[in-house]
């Protein structure tokens, strides 16, 4: 079938052509990103913020290192954006989420669900349901350990439902492989918390300057 010769720019503009470099930028319009609220971190993430419709894994040395503060601006933004799925689901948080603190930060509590499953398998199941439901903007899940197969299911669910999935795990899992598109490590430093990007699709891993909030 004869085709008109087209310029390189036309070919590159074609959606079917996948560009190896700057892949994240081409995904930009179809997948919105939510700013982390920290310019140093935004600059290191492809698209300039937390990717939606994907799984982010945060490895923690201990709780209380500012891991929620990393995501709160994005959670508030996702709830405020008109027309978006507005629900937030927190599954097996290590302590009770404190309502006044969240309200203070701008979270709409009427659109926040806390889920307390009895076992890790049920927590994973609940996360999969919430991620793929399409009514959740973000699903936060705390786990002690899990296998690769379940993480892959969560990633697929997040992609299907367009939600941001955040998985918090102890840092002993840092050397295991993970299907998450973004992996972060939060450790206690000499004076402050250290933030390392272990894995990032379409970006460069390495430590990030993480000023205390």
């Amino acid at each position: 079938m004869p085709r008109e010769t087209s310029s390189l720019a036309d070919i590159l503009a074609d959606e079917r052509v996948w560009k190896l470099k700057d892949a994240s930028a081409s995904l930009g319009p179809s997948r919105p990103v939510w700013s982390t609220g920290r310019s140093a971190l935004d600059a290191r993430l492809p698209g300039g913020g937390w990717p939606t419709a994907s799984l982010v894994e945060v490895l923690l040395e201990t709780h209380g290192l500012g891991e929620i503060q990393l995501f709160l601006p994005a959670l508030v933004e996702s709830q405020n954006r008109a027309g978006e799925a507005p629900w937030l689901v927190w599954i097996s948080p290590p302590h009770e989420p404190y309502a006044p603190a969240l309200a203070q930060q701008g979270i709409e509590l009427g659109r926040l669900l806390v889920v307390r499953p009895a076992s890790a398998t049920e927590a994973l199941w609940a996360a999969e349901q919430a991620l793929s439901s399409g009514v959740c903007a973000a699903v936060l899940l705390w786990l002690q350990g899990t296998d690769d197969r379940w993480l892959r299911r969560l990633k697929l669910a997040a992609e299907a439902g367009g939600a941001l999935g955040v998985l918090f795990r102890p840092d002993r899992h840092r050397f295991e492989s993970s299907p998450a598109s973004l992996r972060l490590l939060l450790t206690q430093g000499e004076r402050e918390t250290h933030l390392d990007i272990i894995k990032v699709q379409g970006g460069r891993p390495g430590p990030v300057e993480f000023p205390a909030s």
Binding site: P100, A118, G134
Partner: protein, 492 residues
């Protein structure tokens, strides 16, 4: 005249009246009908109790035929319950049955005449029902609700099909059959009026002023000049269906399979009634053991087969059968009207997902338990541990959003931690040492919280934000009386 002929004649007459009806009413005043009806005299615009004149209305009234059934023996006690039970019997004649307290039913029978063959046969059937139930009744049929009711109360077993003869039929009735308030009837009697015909002869504006506009409205309704929609009686029903197995079922997977037709029936049942349920119960019967009950609740009213099946499947999937199952029975909770929003065909397309928030919540609850899924909210209270609570009755629809509690906020400069410990934790000696050396550095505070002395759970604390040497931030307080230090929250 054969029934066939009469029906045809009736149809022809009706179609003529339908055309003429709008014109008929003004003409009535001058027409030499048995009793002249000057009530429809125009109301002056400045009348204190302006009642819209029927002349302003141009649309013909819907053609209806009401049969009023009065039960004179019905006592006051339990009248409502008895009338509901009697309505169930009346439902076999028409779908529109309305209860008129204290002792009457109104049946719209126009649509049923054809079904029963003729009006006479329909009446005969109605009479037979009350006779079988041993109720003494007074019946009357008329094109309007109030005319039928008044005729029936007066004990005149008439059957009027033509609205034009209403005025004549009502004229001879005593005014007491309207069941108006005693004061109003007394006023009429003191005016020398004992029959409805005498009242109808009075000028409309005068009646409205001296009695009440409501009385004029009643007369208009009775004479088919004004529509008066009735609230239809809706029977309280539940879905209930049994199914017995030829062989005993031992696995849940087979049960789920066998349940499918029951759910299909249930959804069909609900669809036919434009209703939904919020609870279902499944009873599994065994040979020896007592019945296993599986109860499920739904987060919102639904009649959707897929949702009902999902929730039951989820619940059954977690069930351990105590014994093989011989049969089962599916029961619904009480039927509730479906709200308009739940009929939204495009609800599932929004956001690219396949669920709505109620569906997600009920699926999670079906598997994890009711109390495992909850929301949180703030409470205007100074004691930190009392300033929030769990919410189990979630408001899942956007319309229900309320901002009253949410709008209550602390002063923004008072830091609050994301994690609050269930109980304040006494700081260990080592941690106190860190505090003394500055390794646990106080960053913010003190914020004095002193409250609750009135209910015996008083607190007097100084709160600080403390940074651990390695980066974690804590919310700690010192109790003012004991000078002890506690950890109460973690800034995450």
């Amino acid at each position: 005249m054969s029934a066939q002929k009469r029906r045809m004649g009736g149809v022809a007459a009706r179609s003529v009246t339908a055309d003429l009806f709008a014109e008929m009413l003004p003409a009535m005043a001058s027409q030499p009908v048995p009793v002249p009806v000057p009530v429809s005299a125009p109301v002056p615009a400045a009348a204190p109790h302006a009642v819209p004149s029927p002349r302003e209305r141009t649309r013909p009234l819907p053609k209806q035929l009401w049969c009023a059934v009065v039960f004179p023996d019905l006592g006051d006690s339990e009248a409502a319950v008895t009338l509901q039970r009697l309505s169930l019997h009346a439902l076999q004649f028409t779908s529109l049955v309305s209860i008129e307290m204290p002792n009457s039913l109104l049946l719209e029978i126009k649509g049923s005449v054809k079904l029963f063959g003729s009006l006479e046969l329909l009446h005969a059937g109605l009479a037979a029902v009350w006779e079988r139930l041993a109720w003494r009744v007074q019946r009357a049929t008329a094109p309007t609700t109030l005319a039928a009711l008044w005729l029936a109360r007066a004990g005149i077993p008439s059957c009027i099909e033509d609205p034009r003869s209403l005025a004549g039929a009502l004229a001879e009735l005593p005014i007491a059959c309207t069941a108006w308030e005693p004061e109003r009837l007394q006023t009429l009697r003191s005016m020398g009026i004992t029959r409805l015909g005498e009242l109808l002869r009075l000028p409309r504006a005068g009646v409205a002023r001296r009695l009440s506009p409501a009385a004029v409205l009643d007369l208009d309704i009775a004479l088919a000049r004004q529509t008066a929609p009735r609230r239809a009686f809706v029977p309280r029903e539940r879905f209930r269906r049994r199914c017995d197995f030829e062989t005993e079922i031992e696995t849940v997977a087979y049960l789920q399979k066998a349940l499918e037709p029951l759910i299909e029936h249930c959804a069909q049942f609900l669809r036919e009634r434009q209703a939904g349920v919020q609870a279902l119960e499944l009873k599994l019967r065994h040979r020896v053991l007592s019945v296993t009950r599986v109860r499920v609740g739904l987060a919102s009213i639904t009649s959707d087969r897929r949702r009902l099946a999902d929730v039951l499947d989820e619940k059954l999937g977690r069930l351990e059968l105590p014994a093989p199952v011989r049969g089962m029975e599916l029961l619904s909770g009480s039927l509730q009207p479906l709200s308009g929003s739940s009929l939204d065909a495009f609800a599932g397309l929004r956001g690219g997902g396949r669920d709505t928030a109620p569906e997600l919540v009920e699926r999670l609850r079906a598997r994890l338990g009711e109390s495992a899924v909850y929301g949180i909210e703030c409470i205007p209270e100074h004691r930190p541990e009392a300033a929030w609570q769990r919410v189990h009755e979630l408001q899942l629809t956007p319309a229900a959003r309320t901002g009253s509690v949410r709008d209550w906020r602390l002063q923004d400069d008072m830091p609050r931690p994301v994690w609050l410990l269930a109980e304040p934790l006494l700081l260990s000696a080592a941690q106190l040492g860190q505090l003394a050396q500055g390794a646990l550095a106080l960053e913010g505070g003190p914020e004095r919280i002193e409250s609750g002395w009135w209910d015996g759970k008083g607190v007097a604390r100084d709160y600080y934000v403390a940074r651990q040497m390695h980066g974690a931030r804590w919310w700690i307080f010192q109790e003012r009386q004991t000078k002890r230090w506690y950890l109460h929250g973690v800034f995450a």
